[in-house]
């Protein structure tokens, strides 16, 4: 019995020492409990108490996360379960930003506020999901990976099905849940194969040696099955089927959160996995991630942009466009370390533009009741501010110069070119060409909105534009998108 005693004492010391590295996560758990209590007991008296508690606690966690920069280089905690790096801190900040914007969006979303069962639970689920995302960004162990993906996924099923006001949202949540459950089951099976082949779950060097011992394609099979789960979160091509239907069906704030938050979490996890598999100075290249990402990126870009041409429902179009952007972002991943800065910048701009886009779309839906682009006739004049900022956001999504979308695409092109120079594989070249072609194609469906809103007239009387908080926030976001286009170094200096 005693052989464990000395072992226990030093692992307990490790645990206590580890706490220093996970202040943000602790903050999240505390706020999770606070929200639950406020939801249960105080909601009768102060209606929006959970909202304010969540907001304040997120702000606190934000400051805690910023302090984490001081940790310096990577720090493995809790016996290899999680590893804390500056990279994952950036991702955590992005998750928090996306969560804050989500809460504010929920606060101003008519559909959510009129929900009879109240939005308290949503905030609690959100915080749990946030914790899951943080773990995704930090996980260094396959069990940790599975647990964090499950937390984020289950939380998202709940959020998608939260209101289930009409058939569509229920259908969206069931599709999301089933597809997600199947993918995570496949991923779990992949992890079990990896475990059986290598004997360890920690994403480190000896896992690579284990995989090296067995024939290359059986290791490939195990990793491919594992990547299926990851692909579900990032929704690149073979795993993208769920996203158009779910994004269209889910309530707009949740869609905004899914396209930004959970997608960025997917990228964080892929970044962690890539770093782990390449960290051994690619002495042992077990699996050709470069080729996989290249092909998947090209197909995703083509699929996302080409399919979007047909969409009439604005949310469905934005869904396809976010698939297109995923493909484009994977180009940054191909350049591994060099591409990190452009990846973070692109994700940050993508976060701002997407949330702004969904807020504006929601505002148009709320005031004019039109969800399809073809019913946007003549709205350009009657809702000037909304549609000007929507136009700027769409221009940024296309990547035309004055906006930050262009600088983001430019940086990604730059990092891809850099990796082409070092590796010289023509696949990267084809990726860049596809990127350019799909940018031109994307112009077409993004410009259907101003085409209908401005260029086409309608006789019917159109609603006046109400100046409310949502419009203010989206104007601020649009202004940021423009300013970062002209002075991008404000952001890039922060990312080192």
């Amino acid at each position: 019995m005693d052989d464990y005693s000395l072992y226990i004492s030093d692992s307990l010391n490790g645990t206590i020492a580890g706490i220093r590295g996970i202040y943000p996560e602790i903050g999240l758990v505390v706020s999770f409990l606070l929200v639950i209590f406020s939801e249960l007991f105080f909601v009768k008296r102060i209606k929006q108490l959970p909202f304010w508690i969540t907001l304040i606690s997120l702000a606190v966690v934000f400051t805690l996360t910023i302090k984490q920069f001081a940790i310096g280089d990577s720090l493995t905690l809790y016996s290899g379960m999680i590893v804390l790096q500056p990279a994952s801190v950036y991702f955590k900040l992005l998750f928090l930003l996306s969560a804050i914007l989500f809460i504010v969006f929920v606060r101003n979303n008519q559909q959510m506020q009129q929900h009879k069962k109240g939005t308290g639970d949503l905030y609690a689920v959100l915080i749990a999901v946030l914790l899951g995302m943080n773990c995704m960004a930090m996980s260094a162990n396959l069990l940790m990976v599975y647990l964090s993906i499950e937390t984020v996924s289950i939380g998202s099923y709940i959020m998608v099905g939260y209101i289930s006001g009409d058939g569509k949202q229920a259908e969206a949540s069931i599709k999301y849940a089933l597809f997600g459950a199947a993918c995570s089951a496949i991923m779990l099976y992949g992890i079990s194969l990896i475990y059986s082949f290598t004997g360890t779950l920690n994403l480190n060097a000896d896992l690579l040696e284990g995989l090296n011992a067995i024939p290359v394609w059986s290791a490939g099979l195990a990793i491919t099955l594992f990547l299926v789960g990851l692909g579900f979160k990032m929704s690149f091509v073979p795993l993208h089927f769920w996203s158009p239907d779910v994004y269209e069906g889910a309530p707009t704030p949740v869609t905004a959160f899914l396209t930004t938050g959970s997608k960025i979490a997917g990228f964080a996890l892929l970044w962690r996995v890539l770093e782990a598999f390449n960290s051994s100075g690619n002495a042992i290249s077990v699996y050709d991630f470069q080729g996989l990402i290249g092909i998947v990126a090209i197909v995703t870009m083509l699929f996302g942009n080409l399919a979007a041409i047909w969409q009439d429902n604005i949310k469905r179009m934005l869904a396809y466009s976010s698939i297109g952007h995923t493909g484009f972002l994977m180009m940054a991943l191909v350049a591994n370390t060099a591409g990190f800065k452009s990846l973070i910048f692109y994700l940050f701009i993508y976060l701002l533009t997407n949330v702004a886009a969904f807020m504006l779309v929601d505002k148009v839906e709320q005031e004019s009741g039109s969800v399809n682009i073809s019913t946007y006739l003549g709205l350009g004049k009657s809702m000037p501010l909304t549609f000007i900022s929507l136009l700027i956001v769409l221009i940024s999504l296309t990547g035309l110069p004055p906006t930050s979308g262009f600088v983001a695409k430019f940086l990604v092109f730059g990092s891809a070119l850099e990796s082409y120079k070092s590796s010289g594989s023509s696949l990267i070249l084809w990726m860049m060409i596809t990127g350019a072609v799909t940018t031109v194609v994307s112009l077409f469906y993004y410009f259907k909105v101003p085409l209908y809103a401005y260029l086409r007239k309608t006789e019917s009387i159109l609603p006046r534009e109400k100046f409310d908080v949502k419009l203010v926030i989206s104007l601020v976001l649009t202004f940021l998108v423009l300013i970062f286009g002209i002075f991008p170094q404000v952001i890039t200096d922060l990312i080192n």
């Binding site: 110069p401 004055p402 990092s415 031109v440 410009f447 085409l451 260029l455 080192n496």
Partner: protein, 532 residues
């Protein structure tokens, strides 16, 4: 404050004022815009006359004039070094005439905008944004800044054609946008490639500065576009591929024959002031881009491909003229004639001789004035009777004598009657093209001869139109009702047409006004490209 920056951003500020101003001031918008364009003429006139002809510019950075260089973006990209983008404006012989041309054409377009009745605030804001973008394109010496202004031009034009255009305006607007964007997106790739290949001699990190891109010393050894690395992309030598892609991007704007199908649609559907700007200045951006960027940055590739450029030029001249001969709609005829006249620009540039290049720049300037005048004239008839079919009019001279006088001046000037600038330009482009075989063997002699056929064909379609529409007994499709509507020129219209006609005449009689400015830079460009 640097003159060029004032010239560039004055319209933008005015545009913002118009956007912010209450829409009750509808009437004042056009006067504000007119005031802005007049100030622009004053500034560019001042710049034009204080321009030191001896300084050559092109690839010598310190001989650019009215320079303004402020560091704008300094991104630190980790292993990829620091991204250095400067706000770098400057002009030399190639770009100074275009500044004056742009301001004058903008003034004429403003005067012709009196006819616009709907949504004036949006119209004039977009108009001034377009003005800023065009001036910016001509002044920018930093490739990134050039690209931003180049793309910024597309947006206002898309909406100007899309919202105030004719019947099939959406189709024309989106076709125009897609054509240009397709070209420019691939230009972005080349720009990125160039960025990574060139290092700024002073600061040592990568740079977008076009002038640094011009001299091969700044290219680092293993870079993609490095001259000695001889890298190949998809099997084609990198520098040649870069030249071809940049050339295609600008050729769409010129436009050359296979890529020209957007021009007739855009012109036919655009409102008169927009098609004045489109024909007057935007076609020149293509020509200017080829001279400044394609020939400046890839001189070696320019020599290899000059035969093909000459061939495209000749094909454009003849094909455009033949098409113009077959047109029923007057505006479409003038659009095709623009394609033909811009073919001379390409022929002159491809000849790589001093006469040819100077002739092509002169052709761009003179075509700017003349095509603006032509489209304005078409606009006059269209606004009165909303019809442009040549067959529907006969004997207009009897009921609109002054209008006919201006039309005859415009037609004869454009078909190259001596005494007007187009003759000097076309004659010297052809002489340069013919001469190039002895000077540097760039293009064969038969191309000059084939090109001169274009002069004959342009005489044919202009005179045919003149005879069909203006002379003979007056017979109008709209009969009596049209006759009452077709009153002669108003004072405003004469005020717009007179300066253009006068300028074409003055440039024709005293070409030294333009040639003195262009000569230095043209010689430097020829020296830069051919080393002679």
């Amino acid at each position: 404050m640097n003159l060029l920056s004032i010239l560039t951003f004055l319209p933008l500020i005015a545009g913002i004022i118009i956007l912010v101003a209450p829409s009750g001031w509808q009437k004042q918008f056009k006067y504000i815009t007119l005031a802005v364009t007049l100030v622009q003429i004053a500034i560019s006139g001042y710049i034009y006359f204080h321009f030191d002809n001896s300084l050559r510019g092109v690839d010598l950075i310190n001989s650019y004039q009215f320079k303004e260089q402020i560091s704008w973006i300094r991104l630190d990209l980790g292993s990829m070094g620091k991204l250095q983008i400067d706000y770098f404006l400057g002009i030399d012989g190639l770009s100074v005439p275009f500044l004056l041309l742009t301001s004058i054409i903008m003034m004429v377009a403003t005067i012709s905008s009196w006819e616009i009745k709907t949504n004036l605030k949006g119209y004039f804001a977009l108009f001034l944004l377009l003005d800023t973008a065009i001036i910016g394109v001509f002044c920018a010496l930093d490739f990134f800044l050039f690209y931003i202004f180049y793309e910024l031009m597309l947006l206002p034009l898309y909406f100007l054609i899309g919202m105030w255009g004719g019947v099939r305006r959406e189709y024309a607007a989106i076709k125009f946008f897609l054509y240009t964007l397709a070209g420019s997106v691939f230009m972005l790739l080349i720009m990125v490639g160039l960025y990574f290949s060139v290092t700024d001699p002073e600061t040592g990190n990568h740079t977008f500065n076009m002038v640094h891109m011009m001299n091969p010393a700044n290219y680092s050894g293993d870079s993609i576009f490095g001259s000695l690395a001889q890298q190949t992309l998809l099997g084609i030598p990198a520098r040649l591929l870069g030249f071809i892609i940049l050339f295609i991007a600008f050729a769409i704007k010129v436009p050359i024959v296979p890529l020209h199908t957007w021009l007739p649609d855009a012109h036919v559907e655009a409102p008169t002031p927009v098609s004045i700007i489109l024909a007057g200045i935007l076609l020149k951006v293509g020509g200017y881009g080829i001279l400044r960027i394609c020939y400046g940055i890839f001189p070696d590739a320019a020599i290899h491909t000059s035969w093909w450029l000459g061939l495209i030029g000749v094909v454009s001249i003849v094909y455009g003229a033949l098409n113009a001969l077959a047109q029923k709609d007057l505006k479409r005829l003038i659009a095709y004639s623009s394609v033909s006249h811009m073919g001379f620009v390409l022929l002159g540039t491809a000849s790589l001789t001093a006469e040819g290049a100077a002739g092509s720049v002169m052709q761009m300037i003179s075509h700017g004035f003349l095509s603006a005048m032509l489209f304005f004239l078409v606009g006059i008839v269209y606004n009165r009777v909303h019809d442009r079919e040549i067959a529907n009019f006969r004997g207009l001279a009897n009921i609109m004598p002054q209008y006919t006088a201006f039309v005859m001046i415009a037609f004869f000037a454009s078909l190259g009657l001596p005494g007007f600038s187009a003759f000097i330009a076309e004659a010297f482009s052809l002489i340069g093209a013919f001469n190039s075989e002895t000077v540097n063997g760039a293009i064969p002699r038969w191309m000059a001869i084939a090109g001169s056929v274009g002069i004959l064909l342009s005489a044919a379609y202009f005179l045919w139109t003149l005879q069909r529409m203006f002379f003979g007994q007056t017979r109008l499709m709209g009969g009596e009702e049209w006759r009452t509507k077709l009153n002669d020129l108003t004072m405003r219209e004469k005020l717009a047409l007179a300066p253009l006609a006068l300028l074409a005449l003055i440039l024709g009689v005293f070409p030294s006004l333009a040639f003195d400015k262009i000569n230095g830079s043209v010689l430097e460009l020829i020296h830069h490209v051919t080393g002679k």
